[in-house]
Amino acid sequence: MESSELERFEAVVLPHLDAAYTLARYLTRDADDAQDIVQEASLRAFRYFAGFRGSEPGEGRAWLLAIVRNTARTWHDRNRHHAEATEFDEKLHSAGIADDHPEASVVRKSESEALREAIDRLPLEFREVIVLRELEGLSYKEISEVAGVPVGTVMSRLSRARRRLEEALCLTMEDG
């Protein structure tokens, strides 16, 4: 690889490391795992970089996010048992709190905490479209490329994800 190729990579792809890390944080829900994912994804991106022809800043971002997303997917499959156990624990845990302290919800969680929690509880395929759309501002077409699904699927997943979030957030408010 010529050093000009390295420079092109550093100029086109590396500026999007924050976006990559944000996506990885939401997909893994863990700061250390997110770092591992971004590292692995960056190295993969560099190896495939010769095949990347885009020059617009947005293209570099969507391209890197697609690799982060796939790397996170692989990671997720590998840790599936562990991840499912964690989700199960969380449910048990929160149910326990509600039973033991009926007035706990009086100490209202801040809205952003409630949002964050609702996002973390979304299934992965809903969580990723929400982050890509609402935080990264990607178009449906870009999301369809990153997530590897048709545009129609992006649309219906976003719609269902938002409905779930609204339900989850209404519930927390009505509880109080």
Partner: protein, 260 residues
């Protein structure tokens, strides 16, 4: 169009993804359908909250440094795999140098180059997750004693946090098959590795100098007590500033009566 169709299209409409004629029809429907209008308001509120309140994370400096190091290391090894003819040429060139009788020069340069490569390899390896420091600490009085019993010398450890080069930790490393002390300092998102061992032994000597490989700089010098190698992707002027700080620290230490 019917009401369920409009509901299904509402998200695409709000995301600006609905074609103009459909969007026009939907807007007309929103004016007459209270239920759709209520859903629309809810969605707008949700999106606004998500955008305003969900954190966007900044990639930590250490992650940036590792990614840069990994990518540069990869670029370097790709280049090496492709440049075999180059190496043949450079071997031929050294043979010619030998032929004109500059034995010593050729050997010293080859030794320096090989050591610089090893130092660089150790530097890049240290940037892999979990490899940076065996004793991660910004406290020189924690890092220095950590080497007791691991090495038969006690490396000078400084903290230049006040000068913008904070100490990050230390670890045991190997250069040329010999155990050496490695000290890690930071500069913004860059990592600096300092390798040192006693002047009288360890991997054979090379002259003081600077080497550059794929965006990394490797600097070498010796003191009466130690052989020093420093590796980083930091810019050369700043790296030279850092080296001067270490050298000043060493000469201040040797001028003062032995501590402890």
């Amino acid at each position: 169009m019917t009401h369920p169709t409009f509901v299904a299209q509402l998200d695409a409409y709000l995301d600006g993804e609905l074609a103009a004629p459909d969007a026009g029809e939907l807007e007309a429907h929103l004016r007459v359908c209270a239920e759709c209008a209520r859903v629309e308001q809810g969605r707008r509120r949700l999106s606004a909250s998500l955008r305003a309140q969900l954190p966007r994370y900044q990639a930590p400096d250490i992650l940036r440094a590792r990614v840069r190091a990994l990518v540069r290391g990869e670029a370097s090894s790709m280049a090496r795999r492709r440049s075999v003819p180059w190496r043949v040429l450079s071997v031929a060139a050294s043979l010619m140098v030998v032929a004109v009788g500059s034995w010593q020069l050729a050997l010293t340069r080859a030794g320096g180059d090989a050591l610089a490569d090893q130092v660089l390899a150790s530097h890049v390896r240290s940037l892999m997750p979990g490899h940076l420091a065996d004793v991660p600490s910004s406290d020189q009085h924690t890092v220095k004693p950590w080497f007791n019993g691991k090495l038969d010398f006690s490396p000078p450890v400084y903290d230049f946090a006040g000068r913008g080069f904070p100490l990050l930790g230390g670890r045991l490393d190997y250069v040329g098959g010999e155990p050496v002390a490695a000290l890690v300092y930071g500069r913004r998102q860059h990592m600096i590795n300092v390798f040192l061992w006693p002047a009288g032994r360890g991997p054979s000597t090379a002259r003081a100098g600077e080497f550059t490989r794929q965006g990394y700089h490797v600097l070498h010098w010796t003191t009466p007590e130690y052989k020093y190698w420093v590796a980083s992707d930091l810019g050369l002027p700043e790296l030279r500033d850092f080296v001067r700080l270490v050298q000043q620290g060493d000469s201040a230490a040797s001028a003062a009566p032995p501590a402890r």
